[in-house]
C-alpha cells in the first residue's frame, strides 16, 4: 500500500511541476541554511576531549591583590608560577600538567629553508597522557626530565613532515630559537577543538607543533606568548616570571571519580586558606574546579555571531515551512474532486490522510536531498573564511542523519493541516458540484 501511495504522490507532484518545485525549494533552502549553521555550531561547541572531558578539571585560585577589582566575581583562569609549581608538586590528582604558550622560531638543518615560527607549548610530562594525545613515534618525556630541565622536545606531525619528510625523527635534533633539543616523540595530527587548555591563544587556535618541558623552556629562555595578568608592581620581566605578581600558566588535573573530585576540592580549599594565612593571598580564599565543558560554557567560547546565525537560519526555516504549508494546502485542496471520488469509492478518511501525508513525506525527502546539497555548498563557503575555526566545518554522520530526519518530519508537520482539511471534505458535495 505504501508503495502505491508513493507512486500516487510522485504522479501528483509531477502534475503541477512549478508548485512542487517551489515547495521542494522552500524546504531545501530552509534545511540547507539550518544545517549549515547548526553544523558550525555543533563543531564549535563540541567536546574537545570526547570520553575524557568529564574527568579533566581546571583548579582556579585567586592570588590577586585587593586593588584590582575590575572583575571581582571572575576568578583568574591562569595561575602564578609559585601556585602552579606547588599544586604540580603536591601531585594530589591522578595526572596534572602545568603549561604556557610559546612561539618557536624553528631552524632547519637545511640552510636553504628560512627559519619559520610554529606555535609551541611548554608543559609538563602528564600533558600527553591526560589529554590522550596520540604518538606516531617515540613517547613523551618523563617527570624526571621536567625536574632536570632536559633538552628534549616532542614535535607535531606537520612539523615532522616539514623538517624530516615524515620519517621517524626520534633522536634527531630540533633547533629552536638558538637551543638544540633532542626529539623524543612525534605526534599524530592532533588538535583540541575548542583549544580548551589555553583559550588565550584563541578559542579555536591550531594545535601546537613543538612541545618542550616547561622548565627547559625557562632555562633556554624560549619565547613565551599568550596572556598574562599582573597586579601590584606590574613588572613582567621575562626573566623573572617565576617571582612576578602575574598569572600566566594554565594548570589542569585529571580526577577519575566523584570521590577524587571531592577530595581535590578539599585540598584546593585547604591550599587557598593556607596561602591566606601565610599572607601571600590578600583576598578571601576562593577556589573553583570546573571540568572542561563547564569551563567552556563559562567562557562562552562559541562566537555570538554563530549563535545569531543559527537563530536567523531557524527563523528562515520556519518561514519556509509556513510557506510550504500554504502551498500544500493549495495543492491538496485543488484535488478535492479526486479525493471525493476516492472517498465515494470506499477509501476511508484514514487512507486518504495517509496518502496525502505520503505525498508530504516525498516532498520532505526531496527537500532533504536538496538541503543536503545546499548545506555542503554552504559549508564549503564557510571553509573559505579565514577564521581558524572555519576549516573544521564538515558535515558529520550525525548532522547528515539530522538533515533527513528534520526535513521529513518538517514536511510531515507541514502536511498535517492541509491533509486533515482535505480528507474531511464531504464526498457527496464534491461529486455534486462536478
Amino acid at each position: 500500500m505504501f508503495g502505491y501511495y508513493v507512486e500516487l504522490a510522485v504522479r501528483s507532484l509531477r502534475r503541477s511541476k512549478a508548485l512542487t518545485a517551489l515547495m521542494i525549494l522552500a524546504v531545501a533552502l530552509g534545511i540547507g541554511a539550518s544545517i549549515t549553521t547548526l553544523t558550525v555550531l555543533h563543531v564549535l561547541s563540541g567536546d574537545p576531549l570526547p570520553g575524557r572531558s568529564g574527568s579533566v578539571f581546571m583548579p582556579q585560585l585567586d592570588p590577586r591583590d585587593k586593588e584590582r577589582d575590575d572583575h571581582p566575581d571572575e576568578l583568574p583562569t591562569q595561575v602564578t608560577w609559585t601556585d602552579g609549581m606547588n599544586l604540580l608538586h603536591a601531585a594530589r590528582a591522578r595526572r596534572q600538567a602545568l603549561m604556557a604558550a610559546g612561539s618557536a622560531p624553528v631552524q632547519s638543518d637545511d640552510l636553504a629553508i628560512d627559519p619559520f615560527i610554529v606555535p609551541a607549548r611548554y608543559t609538563t610530562a602528564d600533558f600527553f597522557a591526560m589529554f590522550g594525545v596520540p604518538f606516531r613515534y617515540g613517547q613523551g618525556w618523563t617527570a624526571a626530565d621536567d625536574e632536570s630541565r632536559a633538552r628534549v622536545a616532542v614535535i607535531g606531525a606537520e612539523l615532522n613532515d616539514r623538517l624530516f619528510r615524515g620519517e621517524n625523527s626520534v633522536g634527531r635534533t630540533l633547533h629552536v630559537d638558538g637551543a638544540d633539543l633532542r626529539i623524543v616523540g612525534v605526534l599524530h595530527p592532533w588538535r583540541a577543538v575548542p583549544h580548551f587548555y589555553d583559550l588565550n591563544t584563541g578559542n579555536y587556535s591550531v594545535g601546537e607543533e613543538v612541545f618542550v618541558p616547561l622548565g627547559t623552556s625557562r632555562a633556554a629562555k624560549l619565547k613565551r606568548s599568550g596572556s598574562i595578568e599582573c597586579w601590584g608592581n606590574k613588572s613582567s620581566d621575562e626573566d623573572a616570571m617565576e617571582t612576578a605578581n602575574c598569572v600566566w600558566l594554565q594548570f589542569w588535573v585529571q580526577l577519575d571519580d566523584p570521590a577524587a573530585v571531592a577530595s581535590y576540592r578539599r585540598f584546593l580549599d585547604g591550599y587557598a586558606h593556607e596561602q591566606v594565612a601565610l599572607g601571600r593571598y590578600q583576598r578571601p580564599a576562593r577556589t573553583a574546579l570546573p571540568d572542561v565543558m563547564q569551563y567552556l560554557d563559562q567562557q562562552r567560547v562559541v562566537p555570538s555571531d554563530v549563535r545569531l546565525q543559527v537563530w536567523l537560519a531557524l527563523g528562515f526555516f520556519v518561514v519556509c515551512l509556513v510557506n510550504t504549508v500554504g502551498l500544500m494546502l493549495a495543492k491538496f485542496m485543488r484535488r478535492a474532486g479526486e479525493v471525493g471520488v476516492r472517498r465515494a469509492l470506499g477509501a476511508s478518511r484514514r487512507s486518504v490522510f495517509a496518502q496525502l501525508l505520503t505525498e508530504a513525506a516525498v516532498i520532505g525527502l526531496a527537500g532533504g536531498v536538496g538541503g543536503w546539497g545546499l548545506a555542503l555548498l554552504g559549508l564549503a563557503m564557510v571553509r573559505m573564511q579565514p577564521a581558524a575555526s572555519s576549516e573544521l566545518a564538515h558535515l558529520d554522520v550525525t548532522m547528515l542523519c539530522t538533515t533527513f530526519v528534520v526535513s521529513i518530519v518538517a514536511a510531515l508537520a507541514a502536511g498535517v493541516i492541509p491533509a486533515w482539511r482535505t480528507c474531511r471534505i464531504a464526498p457527496a458535495l464534491q461529486l455534486k458540484s462536478q
Binding site: L25, K223, S304, V322, N323, L329
Partner: protein, 404 residues
C-alpha cells in the same frame, strides 16, 4: 472598493489567509532585524582609522636568537627600510590600528591614580610616526629625534613627552586645555602632552575606547615588532614585494611569518573586518531569499484562489463588473491580508529585537527599519498578487454559464 464582500470571502478561506498573513509577519520580523544587523555591520566596517591608509605596508618581524638587546638590530633594519627605493618613511612599533593586538593601560590625571582616568591604547614610535601613518596633528608639535628613548619588558613605559588623540585629550581634560598638561601612565611619573592628533584608532575593533590612543616616543626592546612603512604613491606593490628580501638581506636571523608577515593596509583592514563583512553579506542574502520565497508563496496561494473562484468571477463579470473591478478585488484582498500580517510582524520584530538585545551585543532596532520593512512587504504582496489578479481579470463572463 467594497471591503465587506472581501472580508466575507476571506472568512471562507481562513487557513490560507492566516498562512499568508503569518508568513508576511515572520518575514517582516526577520527581515527588519537582519537588515538592521547589516546596517550595524556596515557602519562598523566604514569606520575610519584617522590614518591616510593608502600606500602603507606593515611588516611583522621576529628576531631569532636571544641577544642582550635588540635595539641595534631594529635601528639597522629601520635604516635599511627608510633607504629602500619607493619608501617615503617608516618606523617601528608594537601595534597600529586594526592590527587586533596591542597594549592598553589607564591614563590618569592624578599622580597617584584614582577613578578619573581613561583607558588608552599605547603605540610606541618616534618622530617618523605621524608622517608614516599620515595622521593630522591639530595642536602642539611632533617628537624630536632627541626625545626617543627605549625600554624593555621589565620596565614600565612612562616617557616625558607624549602625543594623544583629541578624543583622549577631551576625555581627560574636558575643559579643552590638554596641551602641556601632565598625564600619568605609571604612578608618580608624569608624561607631558606635547601634541594632539585629530584622530587615530586603537588596534582592536571591539572596544568602547576606540579613539583613545597615546603615542609614546619609545622603542620597545623586544624580539617581536612591527615595521610600518609609507611608500611613495604608486610604489606600494613594488615595496610590498621587495621588503622581505631587503630585511633578509640585512640580517637572516629573523622570521617574517608566512601568513600576515607582510601586508598592505588594505589587507589589514580586510582581515580585521572579514567577519563583519561576511555577516552583512549573509544577512543580505537571507533577506533576499526570504522575500523571494514569501513572494512565491503569495503567487502560489493567490493563483489557487483565482482557479477556485473562476466561476464566481465569471458571474460577477456577467453581472457587469469590469476587468478593473476584478483586478482591484484581488489586489485589495491581498492588501488586507498583508496589512494584518505587517501589524503582527511589527510586534514580532520588536519582540525579536528585545530578545536579541539580551542575547547579543546590538542596539535597539531603529523604527525607520520597521517602517521600511512594512512598506517593502506591502509592496511585495501587491507585486506578487498582480499576475494572478491579472489572470483573474481576464476570466471571460462566459465562465458563468459553464458548469465546471
Amino acid at each position: 472598493m467594497q471591503i465587506r464582500p472581501i472580508l466575507a470571502a476571506l472568512r471562507r478561506h481562513k487557513a490560507g489567509t492566516i498562512l499568508i498573513a503569518l508568513q508576511i509577519a515572520l518575514t517582516l520580523a526577520i527581515v527588519c532585524n537582519a537588515l538592521f544587523i547589516v546596517h550595524e555591520r556596515v557602519e562598523r566596517v566604514r569606520r575610519t582609522t584617522g590614518m591616510n591608509e593608502a600606500n602603507i605596508v606593515a611588516v611583522q618581524n621576529l628576531y631569532v636568537g636571544s641577544p642582550s638587546t635588540y635595539l641595534p638590530l631594529m635601528k639597522t633594519d629601520l635604516q635599511a627600510l627608510r633607504s629602500m627605493p619607493g619608501v617615503e618613511d617608516a618606523y617601528v612599533t608594537n601595534a597600529y590600528p586594526l592590527r587586533r593586538g596591542g597594549w592598553s593601560t589607564t591614563a590618569q590625571r592624578n599622580p597617584d591614580g584614582g577613578k578619573d582616568g581613561a583607558q588608552s591604547a599605547l603605540y610606541f614610535g618616534d618622530e617618523h610616526t605621524l608622517a608614516t601613518l599620515g595622521v593630522k596633528l591639530i595642536a602642539g608639535r611632533n617628537f624630536t629625534s632627541g626625545e626617543i628613548t627605549s625600554f624593555d619588558r621589565n620596565q614600565e613605559p612612562a616617557p616625558a613627552q607624549i602625543i594623544v588623540t583629541k578624543a583622549l585629550a577631551d576625555k581627560l581634560f574636558p575643559e579643552g586645555n590638554a596641551l602641556g598638561k601632565s598625564v600619568y601612565y605609571v604612578k608618580g611619573r608624569p608624561s607631558t602632552i606635547i601634541g594632539i592628533v585629530e584622530k587615530l584608532t586603537v588596534p582592536w575593533i571591539d572596544t568602547d575606547f576606540i579613539d583613545n590612543v597615546t603615542i609614546m616616543p619609545m622603542m620597545l626592546d623586544s624580539g617581536y615588532q612591527h615595521f610600518v612603512i609609507r611608500t611613495k604613491p604608486g610604489q606600494q606593490d613594488a615595496v610590498f614585494k621587495s621588503v622581505a628580501n631587503t630585511l633578509y638581506g640585512v640580517n637572516r636571523m629573523r622570521v617574517l611569518p608566512e601568513k600576515n608577515g607582510v601586508r598592505t593596509f588594505e589587507m589589514v583592514r580586510a582581515a580585521a573586518y572579514e567577519a563583519d563583512r561576511g555577516m552583512a553579506v549573509l544577512m543580505s542574502v537571507v533577506c533576499g531569499v526570504l522575500l523571494a520565497i514569501t513572494a512565491a508563496g503569495i503567487v502560489g496561494l493567490s493563483s489557487f484562489w483565482v482557479g477556485q473562484r473562476r466561476k464566481q468571477i465569471g458571474v460577477r463579470r456577467a453581472l457587469g463588473a469590469r476587468k478593473s473591478d476584478i483586478l482591484g478585488y484581488f489586489m485589495t484582498e491581498n492588501f488586507l491580508i498583508a496589512l494584518a500580517g505587517v501589524v503582527v510582524g511589527v510586534v514580532l520584530a520588536l519582540g525579536m529585537n528585545q530578545w536579541m538585545l539580551t542575547q547579543f551585543e546590538m542596539q535597539r532596532l531603529s523604527f525607520t527599519y520597521v517602517l521600511v520593512g512594512v512598506v517593502v512587504l506591502l509592496g511585495l504582496g501587491q507585486a506578487a498578487v498582480f499576475a494572478p489578479a491579472l489572470r483573474a481579470s481576464r476570466v471571460s463572463p462566459v465562465e458563468a454559464t459553464r458548469s465546471v
